[in-house]
């Protein structure tokens, strides 16, 4: 075994890097590599991509869909394949998207703790605040990728199985397929913002335990509870404060001209959840004894 590290690889170089280069860039890159390099993440995305495929195939093999039955847009798919994307995104909002986001957000800190890698990241030293920010940023990237996967897979399978043509919007206006594709991206963005609050809740729950499955389940339960409460008319005063309140409000992205009200209300609400649960996660994590 060689007994010493060559000078150019040793302390001098480490010190030179200095404080100026102390950014989260390297760690962020590594976080994304770990997140999207593991099979579980791909399984989640594949499961999401399977939703539009199922919808499209079901419509293709059934003779006709009676108008007004099933999820919105379903009856229009056979005339225009792009509606597969809209239908699939709508269908995946209540359960499938929160489920996958719950898995990723619940795993952020608890997953590292259960592997024991948390102590090595902190000794590296990743820094607790920096690690928390990078972990949340990684979960946010997943929040962007997940609805995008549904939308893109939906448009692709729709175009493959059905004709594609101009899309009639909820406002009655007709837009060209290219602009419809932009609307699909806008809805994906809307859903990404919608899931940001839930991710913050998941991040906080993840700092409470070393059992990632517990944090994941708790995050998913939180999303279900929020949606159930949103259905109870007796709690109407509470509804605007529930993080799932605007989840299905992306219909405004399908109007001409575009209505940004629900997008902005949603973004403000999610920002509030990020602030509150981010602060809770911070308060918990910076003082936590890492004993796993």
């Amino acid at each position: 075994m060689p007994s010493s590290i060559p000078a150019e690889l040793s302390g001098a170089a480490v010190q030179q890097a200095g404080r100026a280069k102390e950014s989260g860039f390297s760690l962020m890159l590594s976080e994304l590599r770990v997140l999207f390099g593991r099979r579980r993440t791909w399984a989640l995305l594949l499961a999401l991509a399977a939703i539009p495929v199922l919808v499209a195939v079901a419509v293709r093999v059934s003779s006709t869909v009676p108008p007004g039955r099933g999820p919105a847009f379903l009856d229009r798919i056979s005339q225009n394949g792009l509606f597969v994307a809209f239908t699939a995104m709508l269908v995946s909002v209540p359960l499938f998207l929160p489920l996958t986001v719950g898995v990723v957000a619940g795993d952020t800190i608890a997953g590292e703790a259960s592997h024991g890698t948390l102590r090595y990241l902190l000794v590296a030293p990743a820094g607790r605040v920096r690690l928390l920010l990078v972990k949340y940023a990684g979960a946010l990237v997943f929040c962007v990728v997940a609805p995008l996967t549904v939308g893109v897979a939906g448009a692709a399978i729709g175009a493959a199985l059905f004709p594609v043509g101009p899309v009639t919007l909820l406002s009655g206006d007709v837009i060209q397929p290219a602009e419809a594709a932009v609307r699909i991206l806008l809805i994906a963005a809307y859903l990404a913002v919608s899931l940001a609050g839930l991710s913050a809740v998941g991040l906080f729950l993840s700092t409470l335990t070393v059992v990632p499955v517990g944090a994941m389940a708790a995050t998913v339960v939180a999303s279900v509870v929020s949606q159930v409460l949103d259905q109870l008319p007796q709690l109407e005063w509470l509804h605007p404060w529930l993080f799932s309140h605007y989840w299905l409000g992306f219909g405004d992205m399908l109007r001409q001209p575009l209505l940004w009200d629900s997008f902005i209300d949603n973004a403000l609400l999610q920002a509030g959840y990020i602030a509150v649960f981010g602060a809770l996660a911070y308060g918990r994590f910076v003082t936590k004894d890492v004993l796993s």
Partner: protein
């Protein structure tokens, strides 16, 4: 007990210094007023039975757990306040290796190296390869860690501690799970690190290992630091004891007590009772020469059938300090 004391934290010259370091979990005191003093350049053995507070102490040194009371200074800087300046210079193996099972050995090291805010990405690949080579894992660099044996994971953990130039290495049970060949390699590695000027803090419950590679040692028992110092002093502090075999146990006990010794029963043999008594440091004033003791005994009419002097090994010393058997201290 605690040499080179000092008032403020960060006494110049000490690589690790703790003062009154205490950790409570609820009502249980896991670490109780520990004053460690680890001189630079030493290979410092940190001994203690399971559950004596070694790992908790190490967690506090590295800022993983907060101290309930007391101070820690590493490399002359206060911890955990200055972790950004301290930890890049510290390599650590804490309570066994831990890795992402779905990443390769090299992938894991890349990940942990990237976590450090000041590591240089340009040299990362070279440093990872070198660290793998140093622990003999180059051939398994691309293999997923879930396929690693315990010994390979242990080596990878040590490689992680060696990713950058380190002034201090904190190795918690580094030879755990290693075969005799691997144990030897770790011993040589520790020596070579010390030769290069690093301070190595090794926790272990393997006394032979500590005797072979350490220059200094400290012993923990039930959360307290019960001994600390250069290994030679510790061993010498183990003193010498006499072992007396006589049928006149009762009278012999009286004579020995009159001489200022503290006899203990050591069992019964066919030739009579066995009495053991520590002699104190041979050079200390008032210490008795063994021949004088025999003279006193014979003069008092005691039939001495066996009289030997025994030098305590580090193991005896360790057992004397920490207690015997499976009663893990709580």
């Amino acid at each position: 007990m605690s040499p080179a004391g000092g008032t403020g934290s960060g006494t110049p010259g000490l690589t690790i210094e703790t003062q009154g370091l205490t950790k409570r979990f609820g009502h249980q005191v896991a670490v109780d007023g520990v004053d460690l003093a680890v001189p630079p350049g030493s290979v410092f053995g940190f001994l203690g039975p399971n559950g004596s507070g070694k790992t908790t102490t190490i967690r506090m040194l590295l800022g993983l757990a907060a101290a309930s009371a007391g101070t820690v200074s590493l490399l002359g800087m206060e911890m955990p306040a200055r972790f950004r300046d301290v930890l890049p210079r510290v390599g650590a193996l804490v309570e066994g290796p831990a890795f992402y099972p779905f990443l390769s050995g090299a992938g894991n090291l890349h990940r942990l190296d990237a976590a450090g805010p000041r590591t240089v990405p340009a040299t990362r690949r070279a440093r990872v390869n070198l660290a793998l080579e140093r622990v003999g894992l180059s051939h398994a660099a691309g293999k997923k860690v879930h396929a690693y044996s315990l010994g390979m994971k242990q080596r990878l953990g040590i490689a992680n501690a060696l990713l950058s130039h380190r002034d201090l290495l904190v190795l918690d049970e580094p030879t755990n799970g290693l075969d005799p060949q691997g144990t030897r390699e770790v011993r040589n590695l520790v020596r070579s690190l010390a030769r290069d000027g690093a301070t190595v803090f090794v926790s272990s419950h393997l006394l032979a290992e500590v005797e072979q590679m350490c220059t200094h040692a400290a012993v923990m028992s039930a959360g307290r630091l019960v001994a600390q110092g250069p290994l030679a002093d510790l061993r010498r502090a183990g003193h010498v004891r006499i072992r007396l075999v006589t049928p006149d146990g009762g009278n012999a006990r009286t004579v020995l007590t009159r001489l200022g010794l503290v006899p203990e029963g050591g069992g019964v043999e066919p030739d009579g009772d066995v009495l053991l008594a520590g002699l104190g440091a041979p050079s200390a004033d008032g210490g008795h020469l063994p021949e004088d003791i025999v003279g006193h005994l014979v003069g008092a009419g005691i039939r001495v059938r066996g009289f030997t002097m025994e030098r305590e090994s580090l193991e005896d010393r360790f057992v004397a300090l920490t207690g015997e058997g499976f009663d893990v201290a709580q």
